[in-house]
């Protein structure tokens, strides 16, 4: 049997990689992929604890997270399309209208 903690390490590693990607990258699309990776890490933890306690609630939560992630990806990509129409770029550096 694989210990539960190994799954949690995997979850933490995925979350960490996603976080670093979101912080380090400039391409909006890659940043969105980093957010997906973070959500995947959170899902992994939910499913792991669901198995640990022998209850299915964690898996239901993971399904909700997947649905919310799909909605987030749709809206996020629509925003990217809209930004690309006006700026013709997809770097976060170009999106400083609110700051200036």
């Amino acid at each position: 049997m694989v210990p539960i903690t190994h799954f949690l390490y995997l979850s933490a590693a995925l979350f960490l990689i996603g976080t670093v990607g979101v912080l380090m990258r400039r391409n909006v699309l890659i940043i969105l992929m980093g957010i997906e990776l973070m959500l995947n890490g959170a899902n992994m933890a939910l499913v792991t604890f669901s198995r640990m306690w022998g209850r299915l609630d964690g898996q239901v939560f993971a399904m909700f997270v997947i649905a919310v992630a799909a909605a987030e990806a749709a809206v996020g990509l629509a925003i990217v399309v809209s930004i690309f129409r006006t700026r013709n770029r997809s770097d976060v550096d170009d999106l400083s209208m609110l700051r200036d």
Binding site: V20, N27, L29, L37, N40, N43, V47, W53, G54, R85
Partner: protein, 227 residues
């Protein structure tokens, strides 16, 4: 001697982490998206090892299927920068130092907290499962439609709102101007909505002298260019 389950877990966990790292380091978003699919598949295998079979299927269908198609479609439509030039543009030495310091502190804290909590976890193999069909669509659906019905309906509304919002946000300015003119909004109303107050050219509205659907007479050899 490792069992087959342990070998499977190690192989696919390593693949998940490796492809996640590759995803975050590629400059070409298309390549990154394909590696992200590999990561999602590996995570789905780990779900199976946790006896979450239905969730593994959902993961492959929704993440690796629908969402990646969305990503790749947007990348293809947008003609994005694939050279990664933007990654090498840094504001100033001071800002760069602060930037890397912030990333380092964030990652350091995350690693500290995660290893600090995980290393103290009681390693358990989990209790023996009471439900025989743990993680199946049947048992998951029962829970979803009895205990979490309200949340389920809320999520369906959320998805509807996301679809409508995505369509509204992604529509081009030209489309919105066209619709405003077609609906008979006056110029002042259109400028109040942030649109171009001037009337659009006739061709935009489909009033051009040549009908848009006139492609010329059909010919035996195929389409000859129309008018």
């Amino acid at each position: 001697m490792m069992s087959a389950v342990e070998l499977t877990f190690l192989a696919f966990a390593a693949l998940a982490v490796f492809s996640a790292i590759v995803t975050m380091t590629r400059s070409n978003p298309v390549v990154a998206a394909v590696w992200l699919v590999a990561s999602f598949f590996s995570v789905a295998v780990c779900y199976v090892l946790l006896s979450a079979t239905f969730l593994a299927a959902i993961q492959v269908l929704v993440y690796a299927g629908a969402m990646m198609v969305l990503f790749v479609f947007v990348i293809m439509v947008l003609d994005v920068d694939e050279s990664g030039r933007a990654e090498h543009r840094r504001p100033s030495p001071t800002a760069r130092a602060g930037y890397f310091a912030a990333v380092g502190i964030t990652v350091g804290f995350l690693i500290w907290v995660l290893t600090g909590t995980l290393a103290r976890q009681y390693v358990t193999y989990g209790p023996p499962l009471e439900l025989r069909d743990f993680g199946s669509a049947d048992s998951l659906g029962r829970l979803l439609f009895y205990d979490y019905l309200f949340a389920f309906e809320s999520v369906s509304f959320l998805l509807l709102a996301a679809v409508v919002g995505a369509v509204v946000v992604a529509r081009s300015r030209r489309d919105r101007e066209k619709e405003a003119v077609l609906r008979g909004f006056a110029g002042t109303e259109r400028s109040a909505a942030g649109l171009d107050p001037d009337d659009l050219a006739d061709e935009v509205l489909g009033h051009s002298p040549v009908p848009a659907h006139d492609f010329g007479a059909p010919s035996a050899t195929g389409h000859d260019g129309g008018t």
